[in-house]
Symmetry: C2
Subunit: 363 residues, 2 copies
Amino acid sequence: MAKKEIEIKKQLEDIGNKILKDVKENRVPYLKVPARTTNNIVFDPKTLCYILGDKTLTRSAGNIRHVKPLAQMLKIGAFCKELVSEGTKHETKRGLYYISESWGEKLKFDEQQESDNLIEDIEAIIEKPREDIHIIPNPGGSVYGDLTLKFKNPAGKDMQINCLQTADGQTIGPRMCEAEIVKCNANKIIAIETAGMYNRLMEENAHKKFNAILVSLEGQATRATRRLIKRISEIKNIPTYIFTDGDPWGLHIAMVIMAGSAKSAHVNRMLATPSATWIGVTASDIKKYKLRSDKLREVDFTRIKELKKDPRYKQDKRLQEELKLWEDIKKKAEQQALLKYGLRYVVDDYLPAKFKELGANVK
Amino acid sequence: MAKKEIEIKKQLEDIGNKILKDVKENRVPYLKVPARTTNNIVFDPKTLCYILGDKTLTRSAGNIRHVKPLAQMLKIGAFCKELVSEGTKHETKRGLYYISESWGEKLKFDEQQESDNLIEDIEAIIEKPREDIHIIPNPGGSVYGDLTLKFKNPAGKDMQINCLQTADGQTIGPRMCEAEIVKCNANKIIAIETAGMYNRLMEENAHKKFNAILVSLEGQATRATRRLIKRISEIKNIPTYIFTDGDPWGLHIAMVIMAGSAKSAHVNRMLATPSATWIGVTASDIKKYKLRSDKLREVDFTRIKELKKDPRYKQDKRLQEELKLWEDIKKKAEQQALLKYGLRYVVDDYLPAKFKELGANVK
């Protein structure tokens, strides 16, 4: 086992040992779990993330309603310890729910919500994302560029790949998002909302022209993709730029990459990339580039109002102005609307202009 | 240009030349287009596919309502001819819609439905899928196994990859689905509905154990994935097995791979794999393996009734029996429900038993 796995295994064992010790020393066994309730979710202005406060809950074997989840948490811990020890095995949250069938009538989960909840408790206790205990998120998104990664392949063999050695990009799944970053010959990451625009940038050699790693989000970024972006960005100390459709939903796709979500306050610090920047398509771009647009609908205006009040947006003058401008022009546009100027326009004109505007290196 | 591209370029030119000839010879220009209307969609019992009948529509410059779409079709043809000639450039249907902005007020599309419709007309005229004229589908799905593919990478360079050289599988996008199959050391394809089960099979070495190429569908298979399955299966003459959740929706995911959909009767022959077989999870499996199940809901029963009447299901006794059994047991189960017997059960027991039952080679 690698150093990281040994540490995680110990953290899982510590949970069990705490209970054992209580029993041996004649105490009613209990565990303290960071509270993930609304009243313990606080906004951290420094990272722009929602994080957990200091409140904890106590799950005690002395409380009849706690006995079952306490035992179930220990079962999950034991199962994940096996996965981590094996090294190359992973399961999904859904898989874990079904695995509990074999734990017997008294311990099996009746609903997946119950097992999901306990996995999040373990994440909060060990202060590590569930990927580290081998409970993996769905794959989704794709990466392309001069990035060399090292990992154990699904069969457990050490392997190294370069993310240019692919036809359509490398799928970002459980092994990619945790892979060791051996080499990264790029000075920025460009994350792209739609698969169509990602393909356009690949075919126009944007990765070379901008010295960039290209990441396809395919809508709202999966957890695996957010984790990979954060890791490359922080380990290699390179900035991330997010290129979305020009509407409040596109902007919020960028925001979740930058600051995470309120719902996952206990893991935002491990998933968010606070240094990332939204490129656009901005409301200003819709005007400036005379993009084909659609009228904003009632649901879009409601969303804009929500975002204007959201603490993650409150401190950012640029984002506030763009939200206001959307309300004024009452229009939204997709990133592919830039194609009206030709296939190469987005790499020859639009992105270079945006990088200059944002004070970023073009090359 | 390769032989294939030269042929397609000529087919696109033929459309334009037909119009030119009419003009030169003083005829009112027109085009004959295979009718894609309901009354021209017929069921072909041999391939189990919906295909187009012999009816054609005439689009004539003599009809004021036909002039605009006729001219737009020629513009699409000219644009795609450029893409095909460049060799490495592709666009999406959405992208094409936006590109039409540059064709001027009279020719640009008001709705994407209009350009989509004309692309399908061109597919029907040239009897080739739109991938061949470089109008690409969304990527989706992933492939893993001992399969060597050759293609021009997004930057236009010849490249060869093996689909074991990856962390989480190779994304199936526009270049993968059309790649040249250099080598395939497998005797079957296993297509899997959920990403979770795909990962389980990868980690349990199912590709080695069953001598198989593993394909992740991630729900309803994308067009790119269906095309890749068909191409591997037919070029290498190996069977395809489809492993889905145990409900009518899972079964129909398999059916669309086997026989296509009524909506795409004009291209089913280029996308469907009639020789493919549904593995399950069957209704019988739910009983036999005592899987954790959910009650079928009203919408499930309605779906079962529809499928029982569908000609694609009518001739298949096994599928009819399974549909009936679902109605009897009133339950559905997910493929991950097999995990109750442990992580290895699906490769050690379930799949070998199913391959034997279906008369397939296990190894």
